[in-house]
Structure formats: structure tokens, C-alpha cells
């Protein structure tokens, strides 16, 4: 994955895309928004630190907008 500050445009595109789906693999996000996967991963790192996006581990790790996917008892 890339290092250093992430591109604000990519971050915006990721949020926009994640709003449309329940959850997604970062590779699929990269393909969908036409960016390099490494850049998307880097942007996601910042978005999670900003509490906008979270990782979701069910058999594999997805990303989704914070709070979008419910817990079983929730």
C-alpha cells in the first residue's frame, strides 16, 4: 500500500461509493472508482482513523461506512 498522506479526492470517491453499497472489498472499490488499489488502501487508513469508515471481518475483511452494518444482537 502507498505511504504518506492520502488524496482527498480519492477519499471522497470512496465515501461516495460506500454510501451506495452495504460493504465492499477495497479491491472492488478501487476498480469501481478507477483508482489504484494501493491509493485506496491508504485513503481507507485515514478514513478509519477519522471514524468515517470501518473494517468489517466476516470470513474476509470488507470496508463499509461506519455503523452501516449491524451486529447480530444489535
Amino acid at each position: 500500500m502507498q505511504k504518506g498522506p492520502a488524496s482527498p479526492e480519492i477519499k471522497a470517491k470512496i465515501l461516495e461509493y460506500l454510501a451506495k453499497v452495504q460493504k465492499a472489498k477495497s479491491r472492488d472499490v478501487a476498480v469501481a472508482i478507477g483508482e489504484k488499489k494501493g491509493d485506496v488502501d491508504n485513503a481507507v487508513k485515514e478514513l478509519t482513523a477519522e471514524d468515517l469508515v470501518e473494517y468489517l471481518y466476516i470470513t474476509t475483511t470488507y470496508i463499509c461506512l461506519k455503523g452501516k452494518v449491524q451486529t447480530p444482537n444489535g
Binding site: K23, A49, I58, T59
Partner: protein, 353 residues
């Protein structure tokens, strides 16, 4: 104060006793003066004694505190765990070894697991914490190790015996390369709660979660169907959705695989192979499982050459001979029919009876 991100694990250097810091990388040889004790001698002549003690792995903080008290008393506050969930007390003072062992024995600790012994069984969560187990982990381990305790505290086996237990096909216990592997197996496909699926499950992810592609969407029903011929009962779909109940109290149980190893000594690492496809979950003490394992173990003890791991012995005599000697039934369930099956077929006319 905010948490520090990415600071990494504690530095092991702070955890090393002075004798290790002084002799780091300079160990010359070791001896096993008695079962449960390793003596490592450095080029400098310094000797480090490790006293190995079993744990149930699932321990309370009070257990750890007890252990800490002993380590403070005998080991200047240093100890370690092994890759097999045993504790090793690290002593630089030989004079303290026997007192430590006496104290340990008095407190009911199990000392052993070195050399040609059974060590702790690598195992997993089971009914204690996981969602897809086909059996318990800690309970089976307890039952088996109680039964085989003599081989933990002595060193009278032909060679080391490494056991692993996993409570489902995910095989977190890495039983696939163990001398004896105990694997929890479901035997029935998931039971689908269509209402639950309609309420909450994202169907594409559910479909994708099945490793064998056994789950198809059923748009009419707004649910899914399972192709039972393709299902190998792994429970991955239950991980994705609680609507796919996989446990089945009457049909869950245990399979036994044997003969794997990972060391490169003598023979290449090898997979364990299934010899018993199913034994029932006869909790709390799984007598069928303990008996089956003891029988295999005793056959090995009686027949193996010195230094021969279980799998090395079976490979030497031939699996067909192992079945003859053990009296275990051989059935089509034991014949591979998965991706790499071909290499298991006997492409030759030479064999025993």
C-alpha cells in the same frame, strides 16, 4: 491519553533474563536431565534450566498470577510460554531446579512434555467461544491428556508425539500436519431459516461465503438454497449469517487423522491422514475418542523403531498394514475424492495385506 497506534508488540529484549542476554545466540548444546527439564549450556559454560509445565491454555488471570509468584521466587521474575502452550520457568541457578519442581508438584502442576513425550495438544475455542464448532476443544484435550498423562510426564515413547485439535474444518488447531489430529466435523448441511435471511442477510455475500459454491440465491423465495451434494459442512455460511444453523447435536462429532509432521528431520513434512471418519461427541469425557487414540498410540509404541515418528512408522509399514494391525475399518470415506486425490491412489501392484 490517546492510544498509540502501531507501536507494535512489547520488545522481547525487556523480557529476557540476564543469563539469556549474556549468552544470547551462544548456546552450545542441551541435555534433558529429567522429564520436563531442559539444560542449555552456553559457550561460556553458563547453564540455563528450563522447567516445562503444562497449562490448560484457557487460564484465568489468577493462574497467571500464581505462575508469576513462582517465577519471582525461583526465576528472578522471568519465564516464557512455548509454541505449544506450556510454560517454561527459566532458571539460572541449578540449585533452585529441584525446589521449584517440588513446589510445582505440590501445587498440582504437571511437569513434563520434553523429549520423547506427548506435549500439550494445540487446540482451539470449541464450545467456549467459537460459533461453528462441531465439538468442544478444551474438554476433549482434557479427556485425552488425562488418559495419556503418563506419556507427558515420562519420555518413553519411540519419539515426540505432537497432537492437534480443531473444532471445525477451519482447522485453527493446525491438525493437518500433526502426529495425531482431532478434528470436529459437522456432517449435515446448514438448516436455513428463510425468515431470518429475508430479514437481515445480504444474499450475495452469503452466496460468496461458501467455499465450494454450494449456496445459490433463490430469488423467488428471497432466500437461498443449498446444493447438498456440494456442501462439506464447514459452517462458513453460518459465519456470514446466523440464519444458516450448522450445528447438529446428533450428528456432529470428531474425525481422527494421523501421521503428519512438520519437522524436516529425516523425512519431509507431511500431512495427517484420516483413519477414523467419525466418533460421537460423548461429552464430558469422549471415551470413544480417548480409547481410539490410546489404541493407535499403543500400536505405535509396540511396533515403531526408536526415533520413529508415528507417520514415519506407518509409512514404513504401509497404510494397508496399519489398517490390518489396528483393526480399524477401512471404507470409502477414507479414500480421497477431493482435488489432490489422484496422488493417493495406489498406482502400483505391490502392497501388503
Amino acid at each position: 491519553m490517546a492510544a498509540k497506534l502501531d507501536q507494535g508488540p512489547p520488545n522481547y529484549k525487556e523480557m529476557l533474563p540476564p543469563i539469556i542476554l549474556d549468552n544470547y545466540g551462544k548456546w552450545k548444546y542441551h541435555e534433558i536431565p529429567r522429564s520436563g527439564v531442559l539444560k542449555h549450556v552456553s559457550e561460556s559454560g553458563a547453564a540455563l534450566f528450563s522447567v516445562r509445565v503444562a497449562t490448560p491454555r484457557l487460564v484465568s488471570i489468577d493462574f497467571i498470577r500464581d505462575v508469576c509468584a513462582l517465577a519471582d521466587e525461583f526465576c528472578d521474575g522471568f519465564l516464557r510460554w512455548t509454541t505449544r502452550n506450556n510454560i517454561e520457568f527459566l532458571l539460572s541457578d541449578e540449585a533452585k531446579v529441584n525446589p521449584l519442581i517440588e513446589t510445582l508438584v505440590a501445587k498440582g502442576f504437571a511437569v513434563g512434555g520434553t523429549g520423547a513425550a506427548i506435549s500439550n495438544i494445540i487446540h482451539t475455542q470449541g464450545w467456549v467461544h467459537c460459533h461453528t464448532p462441531a465439538t468442544d476443544a478444551s474438554g476433549v484435550v482434557k479427556a485425552v491428556m488425562d488418559d495419556l498423562y503418563e506419556y507427558f510426564e515420562s519420555m518413553k515413547l519411540p519419539a515426540k508425539l505432537k497432537m492437534g485439535l480443531a473444532c471445525c474444518l477451519n482447522m485453527c488447531g493446525s491438525t493437518h500436519c500433526s502426529d495425531i489430529g482431532i478434528v470436529g466435523v459437522h456432517r449435515t448441511p446448514p438448516r436455513i431459516d428463510h425468515d431470518k435471511i429475508r430479514k437481515g442477510t445480504e444474499i450475495p455475500s452469503l452466496v460468496a461465503s461458501c467455499p465450494t459454491g454450494a449456496i445459490r440465491p433463490d430469488p423467488k423465495n428471497k432466500s437461498v438454497v443449498v446444493n447438498e451434494e456440494k456442501c462439506m459442512y464447514c459452517g462458513n455460511c453460518y459465519t456470514m449469517s446466523p440464519a444458516m444453523e450448522i450445528y447438529d447435536a446428533r450428528n456432529d462429532g470428531i474425525a481422527i487423522l494421523i501421521g503428519g509432521k512438520v519437522s524436516n528431520a529425516r523425512s519431509a513434512p507431511s500431512f495427517s491422514r484420516m483413519v477414523i471418519p467419525f466418533l460421537p461427541n460423548n461429552a464430558p469425557r469422549w471415551p470413544e475418542v480417548t480409547e481410539a487414540i490410546r489404541a493407535i498410540l499403543e500400536l505405535w509404541i509396540a511396533n515403531a523403531d526408536k526415533g520413529e515418528r508415528l507417520g514415519e512408522w506407518v509409512e514404513r509399514i504401509g497404510w494397508e498394514r496399519f489398517f490390518a494391525l489396528s483393526g480399524l475399518p477401512f471404507s470409502d470415506m477414507l479414500i480421497d475424492d477431493y482435488i489432490f486425490a489422484r496422488e493417493t491412489f495406489r498406482t502400483g501392484a505391490a502392497f501388503k495385506y
